[in-house]
Structures are given as structure tokens and as C-alpha cells.
């Protein structure tokens, strides 16, 4: 079940003609597929069945480690009614006309595809049944299926015997399709291993960086440390003198930080030669208006804005000022979090062939279509002339929702006149990210005499201009406890920013979870209540806050469910030795409700995370339980690693950090067990790549408080415990 590897492009799902949207039928054709010696018939854009009844299923969404290449094809296979062991999965090509949304982002694939892809499987099954019924001259109703075989009385035909006939039939009326009763699921709800597992463990070519195209050269691309600065002058000769270097040239680029930026490309017969050539370049960068910006200046400006009247109010419920005045107790605290980088382990890269007005691209992108538009604009070619192969990405975390590396590779290949693989250095990656923006929250809350929350005010200081926030720098003012407290207000002040920002795993929420749930802990402390009990009271009776069906609605009962579950599983409230503490946090994002408890021990200023427990409610069905557990574990560890040590700072308009030495990732010795539990609820299944991240930093810092009495209000934790 190990799908395609890169050197075999003929095995991709390349649609030739007549494709319809949303799993509708296309004109069938046969293609010789390796591994399907008997030949195979394409039934629709997603399913190909061999004469040997082996099934190949296309996975539409890019795979970057979120496990979607396993879970989405499982949906099709379930309703198609085949053995999972008979299924090979292949990555679909980027083609929204055929596949619709192809984005690894927002934890949305499960939410959006759960019904649709089951219908794709059910459609193919219905065609196979129709083919059998026609062949046997029996009513369709008398036919059933069982694991790749159509059965009517004592007649049986394997799918492979029927597929050629089935592929010629018109699509059935969608209204006539019946989906399986979930009780009958054999594939959904069972754990299935990652696709490409065998190839990964054997080091076979799979990733963007492994792509090999005939005649291909390797490229590096030097951009200005100050984002968007132009090349003032460059001496290309020293680079061209390096052995193996074939060409070096300036790419003009533009001023839009989301587009093709100016820089100098070096093209060589090996990447090392391209890198040596790049280091030999002497580039003078032009002055740039943002070259005086720095983290120190941002912090100073944030402090000034926090003291000044807010620039605007994004939400005001009740009368916050009066409620604060009448409160028995008020609590104020200022929180902040830094910029951080995504740093997927596979550096940004892309392979591009530009020839005869056509462009072919192999990219580990999470979001191909905006990349297509960038390439079309930069090369002045129609979008239809661009083919994008979705290559397995060595991590994404939101970084690859942007396609800067794609347009760079295309521009370099076009200018060099040969196929090019662009690979960024790690330093390029850390210094040219679309960062998770830093931010500041100045919070004040009021408690009544019984310790109940009666007022909440947040003056949020962020980056933007006028009414506009920079990417991922905005705050959704309906975050809990909005609508659970009568007097609630979000004030906003912004300052301009010259650095590109963008979504990082659970965008916005990855920082808000820390702020909101840490401050909630402070309120529990002020109220003299247990942190779990205080949260239960705040959630109150099970009810929906906000409008049903809206992404920002919040169900207090679902959150209560995961809070209770994580408290139970972690043994919340048990006696712990001195220096050890447990912290709790719960946060809603990406349609998922997640509560996390973390236990830490702090000894002589040294922090050790002992263990974490997570409980998640992402609907009524977990598609691939082991895969789901992996996502939750990875999210919690990722979040804790970032909260402990990660920070991007700027000086002179440029990024200070450059590699894993000064931008550290969590390592083995600091990793800890994450025990994962799921709370099933009668809601549609939703995604899990992100929602377990936001509560973890707050659970960590609340545990530190429980262990030491030290409240962490500014991330990263760094040396604050020393």
C-alpha cells in the first residue's frame, strides 16, 4: 500500500478530458499503471480499478504530515466497499476544476470532505452494481456488495470484472445514493497506517527536494535581509567563477511581500556549488523604508499604545466600565507573545520546468492555486498552461500556504532556460518566513463577591494599519468568554509592520489560547477557586453561544465535556510533591473543542514537563484513530516546544535568528508523553491538525504557576524560571 514515488510521474492521476466537479464522472479512459499489470480503468477522478480488482484512490489534499492522504481515501474506500489492503493511494494533481478545494489548511479537509468523498465511493459502487445488474439481467435491488465483489443470489463478480462496463455508464442520480450506516463501517473508525510508510523508512524519493527532472540544475536565491529591498548592485563574476556554477542573475521582483521579491539567483550543477556561488556574490541592497524597524521599537510602541486610549473598539457587550467599578475585585495583567517561525524540517523548495509557453511545477505546497496565480502573473502565462504536482511536504504548519518558493523557482527556471530545482538554505527559511506575529493583550477583569466573572476588558495591541490587521495578526472578538459574561469588551490598537506574517498552526488561536486561558487561571486564583471548578462555573449550563452553524459559535456543553474528561483522566486535584504542579486549559478553534492538562516539575529553576493529557471533541466519528492521536500529540508537543524557547526578533528591519541554534525546536530529551482521549458528540466530524495546539501553552504556564507560584505572562518561558 505504498503509493507513488517521485521517479514515476506516469502514475499520477492526470485527467485527460471531460472532468466534472465534485466527484462527478469524467469520460473514462484506461491507463497502464505500474503495479496494475492487468491494466486499470479510471472510473472517475478519484477511483481507478484494475482487472485484478486492485483499487487506486486519489487523495486530493496535499500531504504535509497531517495524515490526510490516509484518512480521505479511507472515506472513499469505505463506501466503495473494498478491502483497505486492496487500495493504493496516489496524490492527485492540483486541479480545482476537478477536485474543488485542495488546501492543507484550516483543519478543514475532514469537515468539508466527510460527506462528499463518501459519496464519491458510493457513486462508483452504484456503477459497479449497475454494470452487474445489466450483465446478469437482474434488478439493481437484488445486488449487493461485499469487499470488492458484487453479489446477486449465487452470482458473484469481482469489481475488476465489472469496471470496464461500469466506467461507460452515466453517473447515477445523487439522490439515489445511500450511504452506509456508520454502525457498518469497516474502514472508517479503524486505525490505518500512514501512506508512504515503507518509502519513508527506506529513504525512497518522496519529497519536493527529492524531485529529479531530466536536465535539471540546482538553484539558490539570495534575498535582502530587509524584506523586499531591491538589489542596488551586484558583482556576479565571483559566483560564476565557482566550479559547477552555470549562471547567476538578478531577479527584479516587486514590492509585494506576498509576491516575487527581488534577489540574486545562482544556478549550478549541484546545490552545493550553487550555494558556494551565492556566498561568493557581493550584493549591495538598496535602502528600504522598513530598515529601521526592530523588536525593541515594537515593544516600546506597544507599551505606549497600551497606555493611550484605544484606536477602536471591536466589540462591546454590556457596560464594562460600570461593571468593573462595581466589582468586588479587579484583576489586571499584561500578556505578550513573540513572533515565531514555522521551520518545517524540509526547507522551502520547488522544481520548475518552463518550456514552450508551458510551466510544470513540483511543489511541496499546502495551497497550490494562489501559487498558480503568482506564477501566471510573474511569467505572463495563462493559468491553464501551468501544471502543479503536489509533492509530499516535509512539514507544513501553515508555512506552505504561501507559495513564494514556487514563483521564485518558476522565475529562475524561465530566466535560466533550463529545468531548475530551487532549495532555500535553513537560514533563508528562518529569515524569510511569513511569521506568526507577536502581540500584546492588556487585560482587566472584575469578579463579584462570590468570585463570579462580571466584566472582561482586553486592549489588544497588534500590527496593522487603520481598520486592517496584518495577516494572522487579528483577534476574533467572539473568543470565549465572550457571550458568557455580560460585560465584555475588546479594544484594539495597531502599528505598522514591515515583516511578512501569515498563518501558523491554529493561526491567532495559537497565541490567544495562551493569553485567555492563562488569564482565566489568574481569575480562578483571585476568586480562590480551583482552576477546573472556576472554568466549569464560567462555562455554565450547556448552551450554544452565538449563531448555530457559524464558525465562531461556541458550545459550552462540548467544552465542559472535554474539560471533565481531561480532569478525570489526569487525576486532577490529586496530591503532588513540592515543586510539581498541574495546569489546565481549554480552547475552541477550527470547530474543535480541546482541553489539556500538563504536569511539570521545577527544580532549582530547571523545568521538566512530566506528562500531558488531552481530551478532544471533534464530532461523532474519528476517522483514523491512530492518526488522530498523532495529530493531538504532535500539536501539544509543538505548542510546548514553541512556548518554552522560540522567539523571532528583528533588528534593522531584518530577522536576528538564522538556524536551529538560535531558533530551537523541541528535542527528544525534552519530549513527554501525551495521553489522548476523544469525546464523541453528535456533531459532524471536524479536523484535528490544529485545535489541540492553542490550549497547550496555557496549560504549561498554569502548571508552572501551580509548581512555583511564578506566573508566566510573556512567551517564551525561556530563562524566566532561573
Amino acid at each position: 500500500m505504498d503509493g507513488e514515488i517521485l521517479r514515476d510521474p506516469t502514475r499520477r492521476f492526470v485527467l485527460q478530458t471531460g472532468a466534472a466537479t465534485g466527484g462527478g464522472l469524467m469520460l473514462s479512459f484506461t491507463m497502464a499503471a505500474e503495479g496494475h499489470a492487468a491494466g486499470a480503468t479510471q472510473v472517475n477522478a478519484y477511483v481507478r480499478i484494475g482487472a485484478d480488482s486492485k483499487v487506486t484512490i486519489a487523495s486530493k489534499v496535499p500531504e504535509v504530515g497531517q495524515g490526510i492522504k490516509t484518512s480521505l481515501p479511507m472515506l472513499i474506500a469505505e463506501e466503495l466497499d473494498v478491502e483497505w489492503s486492496a487500495v493504493t493511494v496516489e496524490q492527485a494533481i492540483a486541479d480545482t476544476k476537478v477536485y474543488g478545494r485542495q488546501v492543507a489548511g484550516g483543519s478543514m479537509a475532514t469537515t468539508l470532505e466527510y460527506d462528499g468523498l463518501r459519496r464519491v465511493g458510493a457513486t462508483v459502487r452504484a456503477l459497479l452494481i449497475q454494470a452487474a445488474a445489466t450483465r446478469w439481467n437482474v434488478p439493481v435491488d437484488s445486488c449487493s456488495t461485499d469487499r470488492g465483489v458484487v453479489i446477486a443470489g449465487n452470482r458473484r463478480a469481482a469489481y475488476g470484472e465489472l469496471v470496464e462496463d461500469a466506467a461507460k455508464l452515466p453517473a447515477p442520480d445523487p439522490k439515489t445514493l445511500t450511504l452506509k450506516d456508520p454502525k457498518a463501517f469497516r474502514i472508517i473508525g479503524q486505525s490505518h497506517k500512514s501512506q508512504n510508510l515503507d518509502a519513508i523508512t527506506k529513504g525512497k524519493p518522496l519529497y519536493g527536494i527529492d524531485t529529479r527532472v531530466p536536465g535539471m540544475l540546482f538553484a539558490t536565491f539570495a534575498k535582502a535581509p530587509v524584506f523586499g529591498a531591491k538589489v542596488a548592485s551586484v558583482d556576479l563574476a565571483p559566483a560564476k567563477a565557482v566550479k559547477g556554477v552555470k549562471d547567476a542573475f538578478v531577479i527584479e521582483g516587486g514590492a509585494n511581500l506576498n509576491g516575487l521579491l527581488p534577489g540574486v539567483a545562482v544556478v549550478a550543477n549541484s546545490w552545493w556549488a550553487a550555494r558556494k556561488g551565492r556566498e561568493a556574490l557581493e550584493i549591495k541592497w538598496a535602502e528600504h523604508p522598513t530598515s529601521a524597524q526592530s523588536s525593541a521599537a515594537f515593544a516600546a510602541k506597544a507599551a505606549e499604545l497600551a497606555k493611550a486610549p484605544p484606536q477602536r473598539v471591536d466589540r462591546a457587550d454590556g457596560d464594562v466600565d460600570a461593571a468593573l467599578k462595581g466589582a468586588a475585585k479587579t484583576v489586571s495583567a499584561a500578556y505578550s507573545y513573540p513572533f515565531i517561525a514555522h521551520a518545517p524540517l524540509e526547507p522551502q523548495n520547488c522544481t520548475a520546468v518552463v518550456k514552450d509557453g508551458k510551466v510544470e511545477i513540483w511543489a511541496p505546497t499546502q495551497n497550490p492555486e494562489p501559487g498558480r496565480k503568482l506564477v501566471a502573473a510573474a511569467l505572463n502565462v495563462p493559468e491553464e498552461a501551468i501544471t502543479i504536482h503536489l509533492v509530499r511536504g516535509g512539514g507544513g504548519f501553515g508555512r506552505r500556504l504561501n507559495n513564494d518558493y514556487m514563483v521564485e523557482a518558476a522565475a529562475i527556471a524561465a530566466k535560466a532556460g533550463v529545468p531548475v530545482q530551487l532549495i532555500w538554505t535553513r537560514e533563508d527559511d528562518i529569515q524569510h518566513d511569513f511569521y506568526r506575529p507577536g502581540g500584546w493583550h492588556n487585560l482587566t477583569a472584575g469578579l463579584d463577591a462570590s468570585g463570579k466573572l462580571v466584566a472582561w476588558n482586553d486592549h489588544f495591541v497588534s500590527f496593522g494599519e487603520g481598520e486592517r490587521f496584518n495577516s494572522s495578526a487579528g483577534f476574533n472578538a467572539t473568543q470565549f468568554p465572550c457571550r458568557a459574561v455580560d460585560n465584555y469588551r475588546v479594544q484594539v490598537s495597531v502599528m505598522p509592520l514591515g515583516m511578512p506574517t501569515g498563518p501558523l498552526r491554529a493561526p491567532g488561536n495559537n497565541a490567544f489560547g495562551f493569553v485567555l486561558q492563562s488569564f482565566t487561571d489568574e481569575l480562578a486564583q483571585a476568586a480562590g477557586q480551583d482552576p477546573v471548578a472556576f472554568r466549569r462555573d464560567l462555562l455554565g449550563a450547556p448552551r450554544l453561544l452565538g449563531e448555530a452553524g457559524k464558525g465562531d459559535s461556541f458550545h459550552t456543553g462540548r467544552m465542559r465535556g472535554v474539560l471533565d474528561l481531561v480532569a478525570e483522566k489526569s487525576g486532577w486535584g490529586r496530591k503532588l510533591p513540592a515543586g510539581t504542579g498541574m495546569g489546565v486549559a481549554c480552547h475552541y478553534s477550527h470547530m474543535g473543542y480541546v482541553a489539556v492538562v500538563i504536569q511539570v516539575t521545577v527544580k532549582d529553576g530547571a523545568l521538566k514537563v512530566d506528562k500531558a493529557w488531552a481530551a478532544a471533541d471533534c464530532g461523532r466519528q474519528i476517522i483514523n484513530p491512530k492518526g488522530a492521536e498523532q495529530q493531538v500529540q504532535g500539536s501539544v508537543l509543538d505548542a510546548v516546544g514553541a512556548a518554552l524557547a522560540q522567539e523571532i526578533t528583528f533588528e534593522g528591519g531584518a530577522t536576528t535568528q538564522s538556524n536551529f541554534g538560535d531558533f530551537p525546536l523541541l528535542r527528544m530529551a525534552d519530549a513527554f508523553d501525551v495521553e489522548v482521549h476523544f469525546k464523541l458528540s453528535d456533531n459532524n466530524p471536524t479536523g484535528l491538525g490544529e485545535p489541540a495546539y492553542p490550549p497547550a501553552p496555557a496549560a504549561l504556564c498554569n502548571a508552572i504557576f501551580a509548581a512555583t507560584g511564578k506566573r508566566i505572562r510573556n512567551l517564551p518561558v525561556g530563562d524566566q524560571l532561573a
Binding site: V64, G65, Q66, G67, K193, S194, N196, L197, D198, I200, T201, K202, G203, K204, P205, L206, Y207, I209, D210, R212, F218, K243, G244, N269, S270, W271, W272, K276, A343, P344, L345, E346, P347, R392, G393, G394, G395, G396, F397, I423, T425, R426, K626, Q630, Q633, G634, L637, D638, G641, N659, F660, G661, L665, L666, R667, M668, A669, A671, D673, V674
Partner: protein, 154 residues
């Protein structure tokens, strides 16, 4: 200049500058792309290969320093009984998420188990601490090492 190398038991030649890191000779000259580029500075371990059985970071190992030492990469590690066991354990535990670091993880784990067939948790932490996993699959990496060592069941 031309260098003669023993890679996975085969003799290979590469005509490159002597300061070229082994990683790029493997990837760009010899077509063995299993070892990965992650940092270029021995900070992440994605490029880990063996020289005479010892784990090294190929991204900072100049080709001129390799000499007659036998190079083993992820593509050849399955020929050793320990390597094959580690690969099997990785599959049994379903360790990878994105998978990009796992070749390096498997090379470090195989070197560890060759040296210490029954490692303690501390041994594992020490041997594996140079291998970053951005997806944070560490829990399963540790489990898989113990399964390969016969200390735990899959």
C-alpha cells in the same frame, strides 16, 4: 577532483571539490536522496549517515575527509540485521508524520542499538537528541527503538 567511495557496499566515484559535503555528493552526484538537508550545520540530524558504522552528519562532512571509511545510508541500512529491525519497528509503530526527518532518526537509532542492544531511556535521549522532528514524533520514536530492541511489543 575524483573521489572513490564505498557506499552501501558499492564502489562509487564522484568528481567534486574536496570541501563538498558528503550529503550533496550523495544527493546530487550519486542520486541517493534518502539523507535529507535540514540545516547544513549539524543541528538537526536529518542528514545522518554512518561512516564505518558511526553516525555522522553528512551536511558538514567534507568528502575529502571520508577516505576509505565505509559509507552507509538509509538506502543501505536495511542490509544490516539491526537496521532492518529498526525499519520494521518504525513501520509497526507507524512512527512518521511528515516523515522528512525519519531517515536520519533511523540511522541514529540503528547506530545506538548496534552499540547498545538494550538501551535505557537515558541512552535513547542521549543518542537521539541531535535528531530533530518538527512533527514531534518523539514518543513513537522512543517506542519503536524499544520494540526494535525487543524491550517492548509493538
Amino acid at each position: 577532483m575524483a573521489f572513490t567511495l564505498s557506499v552501501n557496499g558499492e564502489t562509487k566515484t564522484a568528481d567534486v571539490d574536496g570541501d563538498t559535503p558528503l550529503l550533496w555528493v550523495l544527493r546530487d552526484t550519486l542520486g541517493l536522496v534518502g539523507a535529507k538537508y535540514g540545516c547544513g550545520a549539524a543541528l538537526c540530524g536529518a542528514c545522518t549517515v554512518h561512516l564505518d558504522g558511526a553516525p555522522v552528519r553528512a551536511c558538514i562532512t567534507p568528502i575529502e575527509s571520508v577516505g576509505k571509511k565505509k559509507v552507509t545510508t538509509i538506502e543501505g541500512i536495511g542490509k544490516s540485521p539491526v537496521g532492518a529491525k529498526v525499519q520494521e519497528a518504525w513501520k509497526a509503530i507507524d512512527v512518521p508524520q511528515c516523515g522528512y526527518c525519519q531517515a536520519g532518526q533511523i540511522m541514529s537509532a540503528t547506530a545506538l542499538l548496534t552499540q547498545k542492544p538494550k538501551p535505557t531511556d537515558e541512552d535513547i535521549d542521549a543518542a537521539m537528541n541531535g535528531n530533530l522532528c518538527r512533527c514531534a514524533t518523539y514518543i513513537r520514536i522512543k517506542k519503536a527503538i524499544k520494540v526494535a530492541a525487543g524491550q517492548e511489543k509493538a
